[in-house]
């Protein structure tokens, strides 16, 4: 605010920006990027108060957090964990933070630490629950397997709690620039469905982030790469490139394809496809290794390992894995599980993690060398599914990748600059960008590149290039804060719009057949690639809604049907084409109408500036409109 620069009136080849257009004094001072990860949150920020600055300085907020009762440390990452402490567990006053004497929830490092020894009170992976069909994300369901007396929170509350912690940490350190007044970019997985995006945006609102918008994580990673290259990226990307972004985080794997096109003589970027929501990440790998070693120890020692020992093994495996996968010299890493008592030397368990084991378990288990035609294996889920998270059934990331690339073969049909060879059976990426801590291990990255290149070579296509230079742990947050800067009109912006087309299920007008459910048609209400700030209406499809009664629609999304326009009706589709999401619900309020009255409405879909999808029912009698809710999850199945 105070350090307002005296802008010398040079028009810095950005004709779209006028010098006076941005109020530097009252407008946001910072662009803040928040990576709301499954296992960690990171906040990065850029000073945007000077509209003429061409160089940007990015910083990562040091987040004060409790690490154990009574101890507060500053860390760049806030672990996304929440712990419901028992009243006898922690003394009064030992949970105070710099901004509050008694926080509502314990979050961050302390939650993770306490949770390793008392998992029944730990809330983890709240983010994955947000995108989990079949549960109400606003009902208190976590910790999932806790005994009755443990107070539960909803995934939504947990997400808000992490955001609130970040907000307080920011406000404490920047009292002159409250976070509510800054530009905020929150990242979400590209595979998040509309309901999960809406919940994230709402959590941000609740935490006091008024100006928060959403950005897909793989896009954020690419923005970070662009920012880090300091303009040099144009020498590493060319018109016709298809960049495959592979983001393997702690709990999820996120895939996106971004095409490099030409726009008025400049390079443009278009996100053309996103993958499915795959609950598979680095934590699965550590666990897989730990169970391998557990089996080995139990065979040698003949004694069953206890839960805390497996925890400790998992921890040790994470470090050992990184060493083996990054250092070609290290073949055997000793793994030690210390005893729990104060006798350290006598009670330790010793074993070794060998390169062969890492190769078998991780490279062959998670990154098998498969053909590009393979699909992830999924057995039909058993009817008695417990209410846990729908973890990926096939651990083979390469199989998920192959399936994704094959499914997206037609993703570039709308682009003029790019064509695939005639014989292509999958979309050919020409460049690959990695993100996520797991891919820091060079052997992992090499293996993925080898597999992708083997697919390309089988179809006589050249090898894909690896785009380097990212800080794999912080890239998403950094890219998000850079995006705020891009939104000011600086630098290239990735286009894309919605990564799916959306449909509601309507009963087709057919004579009813006794004993058979009526046939359902899918009515397209939002086409693929709808841009932010646009709106589509379906005036020709009229529905009668009964006032006061909730009306439910089946709701579908397709990541591959790009050609459907608004109002298109599908009579038939395959399971691969259309994915059924949670039902959407609308209840017309009784104000101005009588209960039971039928109001003719038509539907409308809009993509908000925030980046969420908004569905409305608009009255055909007057201009009244009602919001159709996503987040009523059908919990009663």
């Amino acid at each position: 605010m105070s350090d307002e620069h005296n802008a010398n009136e040079h028009d810095n080849n950005e004709p779209g920006i006028d010098q006076t257009g941005e109020p530097t004094n009252n407008g946001p001072h910072y662009s803040i990027g928040i990576d709301l990860g499954t296992t960690h949150c990171v906040l990065s920020y850029v000073d945007i108060s000077d509209p003429d600055a061409d160089e940007i300085v990015q910083e990562v907020l040091q987040i004060p957090q409790l690490t154990s009762p009574g101890v507060i440390e500053d860390k760049a990452q806030l672990p996304s964990f929440l712990y419901q402490a028992h009243e006898a567990e922690i003394n009064e006053g030992e949970t105070s933070l710099p901004w509050t004497a008694k926080p509502d929830y314990l979050v961050g490092e302390i939650a993770r630490n306490l949770g390793t020894k008392t998992p029944i009170r730990l809330v983890a992976s709240a983010k994955s629950w947000l995108c989990h069909a079949g549960v109400d994300c606003k009902s208190a369901i976590l910790p999932n397997e806790a005994p009755e007396e443990v107070e539960r929170v909803s995934p939504f509350q947990a997400t808000s709690a992490y955001l609130e912690h970040l907000c307080c940490a920011w406000n404490k350190q920047h009292p002159e620039a409250p976070i509510a007044d800054q530009d905020i970019t929150l990242t979400v997985p590209a595979s998040f469905d509309p309901a999960a995006r809406e919940l994230t945006a709402e959590a941000a609102q609740r935490a006091g982030l008024k100006n928060a918008i959403l950005l897909e994580e793989p896009q954020a990673a690419l923005y970070s790469w662009i920012e880090k290259s300091e303009g040099d990226w144009r020498n590493h990307a060319d018109v016709g490139d298809i960049i495959l972004v592979i983001d393997v985080g702690g709990g999820t794997t996120d895939l996106s394809l971004i095409a490099v096109t030409e726009e008025q003589g400049n390079l443009g970027l278009t996100r053309i496809a996103v993958g499915d929501h795959i609950l598979l990440g680095g934590d699965n790998m550590d666990l897989a290794l730990a169970y391998t070693l557990k089996a080995k120890l139990e065979k040698d020692g003949g004694k069953r390992l206890e839960g805390w020992q497996v925890q400790s093994l998992t921890h040790a495996c994470r470090a050992a894995k990184e060493t083996i996968l990054s250092d070609d010299e290290a073949d055997n890493i000793p793994i030690v599980v210390p005893s729990r008592g104060s006798s350290l030397i006598g009670g330790t368990l010793r074993t070794e993690l060998s390169r062969d084991e890492v190769n078998t378990v991780l490279l062959q288990g998670f990154l098998p060398e498969v053909a590009s035609s393979e699909q992830p294996v999924s057995s039909a889920r058993s009817g008695l599914r417990t209410a846990g998270l729908p973890y990926a059934q096939d651990a083979g990331i390469t199989r998920h990748l192959a399936g994704f690339l094959t499914r997206q073969l037609n993703a570039i049909d709308d682009l003029n600059d790019i064509t695939l060879p005639e014989n292509a059976t999958f979309i050919h990426p020409t460049a690959v960008l990695f993100n996520g801590g797991v891919l820091k291990a060079t052997r992992f990255a090499d293996r993925l590149m080898d597999v992708i290149n083997s697919w390309l070579n089988a179809e006589q296509a050249p090898n894909a290039r690896l785009l380097t230079g990212l800080d794999l742990d912080l890239a998403v947050a950094r890219g998000a804060s850079y995006y705020g800067y891009v939104r000011k009109g600086k630098g290239v912006r990735i286009k894309g719009g919605t990564a799916a087309s959306y449909y509601v299920g309507v009963e087709s007008a057919m004579p009813a057949v006794p004993g058979m459910p009526p046939e359902v048609q899918a009515l397209c209400i939002a086409p693929f690639g709808m841009e932010e700030g646009t709106k589509e209406e379906l005036p020709n499809d009229e529905f009668g809604l009964i006032v006061g009664e909730p009306v439910r629609f089946r709701f579908f999304a397709s990541k591959t049907r790009r050609e459907d326009t608004v109002g298109a009706r599908l009579d038939y589709w395959t399971d691969e084409e259309l994915e059924e999401l949670d039902e959407i619900e609308i209840t017309l309020p009784e104000e101005n109408h009588k209960t039971g009255e039928v109001i003719p409405v038509h539907l409308s879909a809009a993509v908000t500036e925030i980046g969420t999808l908004e569905l409305l029912a608009i009255s055909n009698q007057d201009d009244h409109s009602w919001k159709i809710e996503f987040d009523v999850r059908s919990g009663e199945e």
């Binding site: 949970t95 105070s96 350290l344």
Partner: protein
């Protein structure tokens, strides 16, 4: 406003003593008296304070001041004078200073040391390791435990301290120390004769902490508990 009314020519020497002047005189005397009382009170207070410096019994003087102030409350001018009196006292303090400075030894706060121990115990099981009788175990067992200690200590040191060497030269190489080098940074050993510049071989490159980042503690935290006892239910 009514300045005219009270505009008194001081050059004028009254020939007759009227009531007005009697009043003026008594007022002046009263003022002078209170100032003198105050001065004495302050001086006495100051003397007491310097006598009982270790007992920090400043409350006495504060009391004397607070008892004198109410008397003067109606007279605004007098309060202004208190400020002046205090200024005089400050000057007196400075005058006292030239006495030989006492030698102050820095006393390390125990909290930081306890914190470090707690961190080392948490991450590296440091106290457990040190408190154990190593003679009872084989080198293999000790080696296994040492890995836990080493890995944990590395984590603690890396997270909380920025370490750098004092000298960047290779150990064993010849280095020359110019005159005025910092004896705290470089310690001379062996044949120390003559004058700087000194030339010798670097035996140890030294370590220095360039940055330290210790956790903060909440007000009620008992740092003496390095590791809490654990009871599993």
């Amino acid at each position: 406003m009514n300045t005219r009314l009270y505009n008194i020519d001081l050059e004028l020497i009254p020939t007759t003593i009227d009531l007005y002047h009697v009043y003026l005189l008594t007022a002046v005397f009263a003022l002078a008296l209170t100032v003198i009382i105050l001065l004495f009170a302050m001086l006495i207070g100051l003397m007491r304070r310097s006598k009982q410096a270790t007992q920090t019994s400043g409350t006495n003087t504060e009391q004397t001041i607070s008892t004198t102030i109410p008397k003067l409350e109606p007279e605004v001018k007098v309060i202004e004078k208190i400020v002046e009196v205090e200024k005089i006292v400050e000057v007196e303090k400075i005058v006292e200073l030239p006495a030989p400075e006492p030698i102050v030894l820095k006393e390390a706060t125990p909290d930081a040391a306890l914190q470090l121990l707690s961190l080392l115990q948490k991450e590296a099981r440091f106290i457990d390791f040190i408190k154990e009788d190593v003679n009872a175990y084989s080198d293999t067992d000790i080696g296994a435990a040492a890995r836990v200690v080493h890995a944990g200590c590395t984590k603690v040191i890396d997270e909380h301290f920025n370490l750098a060497t004092v000298r960047t030269e290779q150990e064993g190489s010849k280095i020359t120390l110019a005159e005025g080098f910092n004896a705290a940074e470089v310690r001379l050993t062996g044949n120390i004769v003559g004058k700087a510049p000194f030339t010798g071989s670097l035996g140890h490159k030294g370590w220095q902490v360039t940055d330290i980042k210790l956790p903060k503690l909440t007000a009620g935290h008992n740092a003496n508990i390095i590791a809490a006892a654990e009871v599993e239910l």
